[in-house]
Symmetry: C2
Subunit: 402 residues, 2 copies
């Protein structure tokens, strides 16, 4: 991590009392807790923490749950130490992103009261920008070689088209998806059911470190938290909500990946499935989705992009005011200025020209891509034709200095 | 062929001048000729033959085509010898079935002016009854072992459920479908793009003979006619129209099987596709159909029957007056009477009890099945619970004698 990125990582949560309160609440509320979500909406984080740690029986206490359950919340709130958590997380390169902050992916607000309290995020990239152009690839842990091949090929193809590949870092399809994106020099996000500092599964320790260097590793749970079955289920809702669409590569009947797919559908996201041999039990769940019309059949990255790329309302141009160049973070602006006019450049050349590390350059390029400033072309990057303030004639419109 | 079946085969066409005229017209009009179909509708077969063989320039001649094309029709009409064709066909066990006759499958009327002039039919079964419970299985000639396995398994599963498997007798998927149905002791129909006496492809001579013994081999073209590319295309419309639905097992982009599938869809039939590996070019056409929503994904015979079996309006009970037992052909009634009450019997036992050959028994059982008199149960046949005049209590309702 560069010094700048590290400074950013620490700055955000510590500055805001609401962020500190929400950091505490990630030790109190389990992911997806709708009671907690309602209280947060009613009281705000600071007041909710005060009520849960103040004298018992005080007027205006959060309600709607039994006394025993409320006592559990209070016990966990009493033990929470968010300042220590935030400091330890920062030391491990993990920042805490809360709803409403600049990096918060507002798609997660679609989850209503089940919206995450906040996200613990490890890695250099801008989560909000990346999520705008992201697709989830999910599937079976015990996948077939065919499934692994499809996940890897799809992920590489999506990365080549400038899309961010989101998955759950599990063995099988998830791992193949992350590896496919990384191998194509692309962007990938691992959403965990544990702390962002916990290497789960253990065999993916190296993979998670690579993802955190080149992409993002994140989760709802505070540092050192371990996964549980219900946390896996709730993690899937984050994957579904964060992305524009979910592709199921291989899934047996009644598998967790199908739950993710149906969540995506309920949230109005695109749900897609990769077919396989009708004789394969690991394609049976996907075929079930496709047969019922709950998902669209896709066979390659072009199919996926044809679907999710259509959803114009999520592209920043149509979403509200265009982000002006002057509002780009300094590191991002530096990468944009390093791109030559009229021809594509590879990541190495941009890194050299901008004086930035290659891992960070990748993150910034994907961020610029999601904002419409640059486009991906094969292995290289090009100033975008649809750049908000006239990217094609980049020499003329480029800011002075830099 | 039994002596009775042979007598039936000869009787129908020779008795009717309209049938003789239509037999002549199968030498004049190419399959799917809409001009010819319109003339047939306007003039009827007998008058159309008279006009085409009468003096040139006569008033009221068929119009709408150029002089040269009309001359071609007249040349072919002059050379046609339907009485000889019908006699030679009968000698080869082939009968000629025309619209409106008892064996005519009225689904073909959905083709409008492209309706076949008539069908040359080889084999013992009742075409009309069989078509009511039939499904087409089509696909690539150069199929993969996976495709052949799927076609064979689907066909066997359909046969076990009492459905008739229709295909085109080509190498690859077609052959596997016919073989799967035959191996399950089931009913199958080969629709050819040539004369019903022509073994095409040559390597399927034995298979076609087996189909003609246990099922039906049929086509629009008179004896000794050879296939042409346009005849293959037109043959596909007959397959699509004859059946309740078409399943595409393997098909490359832009293949003939996709044309059949789209014809089926245009005709309001069910269109289905068997998925395969996304990496297989021979599944690409099927995936294209499925992706566009033009077909429903199916992975086994149960999936197929769940779709096509729904179409209640085609089952005879709901379609109009129930066929009374007394109206069954004598051979069919004899097979019905040979079924024991309350337990299933296999084909061999029914053949023995009815004094009928096993191949013919299969045909009659499928006919009785389509009329609701019997049901298939595993390898055996059972008196139907929904039999039109009380099949369950078969001992009581069975006709005397027999």
């Amino acid at each position: 991590m560069t010094p700048e990125a590290e400074a950013e990582a620490v700055a955000e949560p510590v500055a805001e009392p609401e962020a500190v309160a929400r950091a505490a609440l990630t030790r109190v509320l389990e992911p997806g807790d709708r009671h907690g979500g309602r209280w947060l909406r009613e009281f705000g984080g600071v007041e909710l923490v005060r009520l849960l740690t103040g004298p018992e029986g005080e007027r205006g206490q959060p309600g709607g749950v039994g006394a025993e359950r409320l006592a559990g919340y209070r016990r966990r709130a009493a033990r929470a130490d968010p300042v220590r958590d935030l400091a330890e997380a920062a030391a491990a390169g993990i920042r805490f992103v809360v709803p409403g902050s600049a990096q918060w992916p507002s798609q997660l607000d679609d989850l209503g009261d089940a919206r995450p309290v906040g996200l613990w995020v490890r890695g250099p990239a801008d989560l909000r920008a990346w999520a705008l152009r992201s697709v989830a690839l999910v599937g079976a842990r015990a996948c077939t070689p065919y499934g692994a091949h499809m996940a890897q090929t799809l992920a590489a193809g999506l990365a080549e088209r400038g899309w961010v590949v989101v998955s759950g870092a599990a063995y099988g399809i998830d791992g193949a998806a992350h590896r496919g994106a990384l191998a194509a020099g692309g962007a990938t996000v691992a959403v965990l059911a544990c702390g962002a500092d916990v290497a789960y599964p253990r065999g993916h320790t190296g993979l998670l470190d690579r993802i955190a260097r080149q992409g993002l590793v994140l989760g709802e749970l505070p540092p050192a938290s371990h996964p549980t079955p219900s946390r896996f289920v709730q993690r899937n809702r984050v994957i579904a909500a964060l992305t524009r669409g979910t592709v199921v590569v291989e899934a047996a009947h009644r598998s967790g990946s199908l739950v993710t797919a149906r969540r995506a559908q309920d949230l109005g996201r695109f749900t897609m499935g990769v077919p396989g041999p009708a004789t394969s039990g690991l394609s049976a769940g996907v075929h079930e989705l496709l047969r019922g019309g709950a998902a669209t059949l896709v066979t390659d990255a072009a199919d996926v992009v044809e679907l999710v790329g259509d959803m114009g309302e999520l592209t920043p141009e149509r979403r509200g005011p265009v982000l002006a160049r002057d509002l780009l973070a300094p590191q991002t602006a530096r990468v944009l200025e390093a791109l030559p006019a009229g021809r594509p450049a590879d990541v190495g050349a941009v890194a050299l020209a901008s004086g930035t590390g290659t891992d960070e350059v990748i993150g910034r390029l994907y961020e610029l891509h999601s904002l419409g400033f640059v486009e991906r072309q094969g292995d290289g990057w090009l100033l975008g034709r649809r750049a908000p303030d006239g990217g094609t004639d980049a020499g003329a419109s480029r800011r002075g200095g830099g």
